[in-house]
Subunit: 352 residues, 2 copies
C-alpha cells in the first residue's frame, strides 16, 4: 500500500494467486486469454481492493496516454470566457473523447518561442493535439509543420497542403453574404475584419473583395477597418467607416461581439439599425439573438468541428499514430434576423 493508499496490480496478483501479467490481461478485457474461473477471481479481488489501473504507469508502459491536448496560443486574450469559439470547440472535443475513454488536457501557452511550445506539447503527456485557431506564421503552425505527434488545426486553417485541420468555409459564406447584400441594393458595404494574424480574417476579407469585384463595385479602402474580434473594435471600426464618402449602408463584422459593439455606437449616434445601416455578425453566439435588433449572423458549426478534430486525432492513434494530411471543411450558414434590410433611399450623410 503506497501510491496514496491505492492498491496496485501487484497486490491484486498476490491476493488472487496469479501473476501481474494475468491481472493486466483481465483488466484489459482480454478475458479470452484465461479461464473463466481465473478471470472471475481476479475481477472479484480487484473489486474488493477497489483496484483500478494507474493511468500514468499504463501510459509509460504502453506508450499511449489516451490523452488529447487542446492548445491555445498565448495571444488569445481571455481564453474561454471571452472566446465562444474556444468554448464550443472544447465541448465538441469533450463529447467525442469522453465516449472513447480519452481524456483531454488544456494547454494554455504562455510564450511564443518554438522551443517552449515544442516542449509543452511534446512532453509526452498527450498522444495528439488540437490547435485552436493558430496565428498566421505563429508558433503553433511552425510547430505543426515538423511535429512528431498527430495534430489538427481547428479554425483559421492556412492553405498548406501538409497540415491537417478542420475549418468552416467562411470564404464561400462571406462571398454569399456580400452577394445577398448587393442583391438587397447595397452598394457601399463596409467590413470590420478580424486581426490579420488570423487566416480566417484574411480569407473573409478576400471573399468580400472578390464579391465586390465581381459585382463591379468599387473596393474602397475607407470601407475596410482592421479589427481584432473585441467589442471595442466594433465601436472604433464603425466610427471609422462612417467617415467614408459616401458612408456604408451595410457593415460586415468580424464576430458577434464586434457587431454588438458597432450597434452600440450607432445607437449612440442615433443612427438606426438596420434602417440606416445593416449589420452582419459572425458566429451566431448566444448574444446574437439577444441583441437589439437581433443580429443577422453567420453560424459556424463549432461543436461539430471540435468533435471532428477529436475524432481525427483518435483515429490517427488507432492507426499507428500517423495522420495523413487531411482537411475537413464545414459549411457556414447565414442566420437571418433583423439587423439587415434594404439600404435607405438616401445616404445618412445626405446621399451620394
Amino acid at each position: 500500500m503506497r501510491n496514496n493508499g491505492k492498491a496496485t496490480i501487484r497486490e491484486v496478483a498476490r491476493e488472487a494467486g496469479v501473476s501481474i501479467a494475468t491481472v493486466s490481461h483481465v483488466m484489459q478485457g482480454k478475458a479470452s486469454l484465461h479461464t473463466t474461473e481465473t478471470v472471475q477471481r481476479v475481477r472479484s479481488i480487484a473489486e474488493g481492493l477497489a483496484y483500478s489501473p494507474n493511468r500514468v504507469a499504463q501510459s509509460l508502459s504502453s506508450r499511449r496516454t489516451k490523452t488529447l491536448g487542446l492548445v491555445i496560443e498565448s495571444r488569445i486574450a481571455g481564453r474561454f470566457t471571452t472566446n465562444p469559439f474556444c468554448t464550443a470547440v472544447l465541448d465538441g472535443f469533450l463529447e467525442c473523447t469522453s465516449e472513447a475513454d480519452y481524456q483531454v488536457k488544456i494547454v494554455s501557452l504562455r510564450q511564443d518561442d518554438l522551443e517552449y511550445v515544442a516542449n509543452c506539447i511534446g512532453d509526452g503527456s498527450m498522444d495528439a493535439v488540437g490547435l485552436l485557431a493558430p496565428t498566421v506564421d505563429g508558433p503553433l503552425i511552425t510547430w505543426a509543420r515538423t511535429a512528431r505527434i498527430p495534430n489538427v488545426l481547428i479554425g483559421s486553417l492556412p492553405d498548406e497542403v501538409r497540415l491537417s485541420g478542420v475549418d468552416v468555409d467562411d470564404s464561400t459564406t462571406v462571398y454569399e453574404v456580400v452577394c445577398w447584400l448587393i442583391a438587397l441594393g447595397h452598394r457601399r458595404i463596409g467590413i470590420i475584419t478580424g486581426p490579420p494574424t488570423q487566416w480566417s480574417a484574411l480569407r473573409r476579407e478576400n471573399a468580400y473583395l472578390r464579391a465586390l469585384e465581381e459585382a463591379g463595385l468599387e473596393q474602397d479602402p475607407a470601407l475596410r477597418y482592421v479589427g481584432n474580434y473585441e467589442p471595442s473594435s466594433g465601436n472604433a471600426g464603425v466610427t471609422a467607416l462612417l467617415m467614408a464618402d459616401p458612408p456604408p449602408t451595410a457593415v460586415i463584422c468580424g464576430n458577434d461581439s464586434v457587431a454588438i459593439g458597432a450597434i452600440e455606437t450607432l445607437h449612440k449616434m442615433h443612427i438606426r439599425v438596420p434602417e440606416d445601416i445593416s449589420i452582419v455578425g459572425f458566429d451566431n453566439h448566444e448574444i446574437a439573438k439577444l441583441s437589439r435588433p437581433p443580429l443577422t449572423t453567420i453560424r459556424q458549426p463549432l461543436h461539430e468541428m471540435g468533435m471532428k478534430a477529436a475524432e481525427m486525432l483518435m483515429n490517427a492513434m488507432d492507426h499507428g499514430g500517423v495522420l495523413a494530411p487531411s482537411v475537413v471543411i464545414f459549411p457556414g450558414s447565414l442566420v437571418k434576423r433583423r439587423s439587415v434590410c434594404k439600404p435607405p433611399e438616401r445616404s445618412i450623410r445626405g446621399g451620394q
Copy 2:
C-alpha cells in the same frame, strides 16, 4: 531513438559523458550540485538534441503529475457552452496553473456511480482536483468525503465541515437583494429557483425566505417556482408565478439566462419590465447588459474562485499532498441596471 524519435535522458547522458542522474539534476535546475562545466555541457547537449523530459516518466517516478483535474458531473447539460459558470472558473483555473507549470485535465463524467467516478478521478493522472458545482448528495460529494487526493468543491458548497471548497456568499447577497426590493416597496416577491439538487439553489431560497420573514411578509408557495437554470424555466416560471394572487411585482431568477427567458415571456404578454414587474438575475453574464432592459443581477467572482481553487490545490501538493479542510467564501455583489424599479401603484391584475 524511440519515443516518437524524441531524445531520452539516456542519450543526453551518453553524449555528455555523464550519468543519467546528473542529467536529471541539471534538468531540474539543481545546478549547485555540479560543476559549472558539467552543467553547461549537459545543457548544451540537451539543447542540441532538443531534449525535454518525458512528463509521464517524471510523474511515475516522482509520484507527482503536476496536473490538476477539473471535474464536471454528468448531469451538467451542455457543459461549457451553456454554462458560463464552468467557463469562467476554467479560465481562472488555467491562469493560476499555467504560471506554476501545472497542467489541467478536464474530466467530464459520463456516469454517476461512485465506482466509476472514483476510478476516473483516481486514475493517478491528476494530483488533485477541483469539483465543479457538485450536486447535493451526488457522486462528486460522496467521492470527496473519502477521497485520497486533495480536492476542492467549486460553487454549491454544502455545509460540511470536512470538505474544502470555494464559493460565493450567495446567501447574504440574496438576503440583501430581497431587503432592497422590500425597501423599494415590493411586497409580493417571487423566486424562480435553481434545481434543488444544487446547494446554492437551496441556500438562495432560504435566504429569500428569511428576508421575507424578517420583514413580516407572507411566504406564499405560489410565489416560488422550481427551475433548473435553463432559459425555459424562466418562461415557465414567470407564467406560473403570474397565477399567484396577488401576482408578484418582482421576481428573482436563478441565473441570467432564466431572467432573460422570463423577460421574453413577459414581453409577449405585454407586461412591462420593470414598470409592471422587476426582474433580478444572477451571474452578471455578458448577456446581462445586452438584455432589454439591461438586467439587474448578482455578480459572482467566478474567475477569482477558479484561481483560488487552483491555488489551494497546488499549495496542498507543496505540503505533502494534504489539504486541511478549508473554505473560502467570496462576496457576491449586486449590479444594478434597469430591470428593477419600484412596484407599480396597482397590481397588474387590478391590485389587491
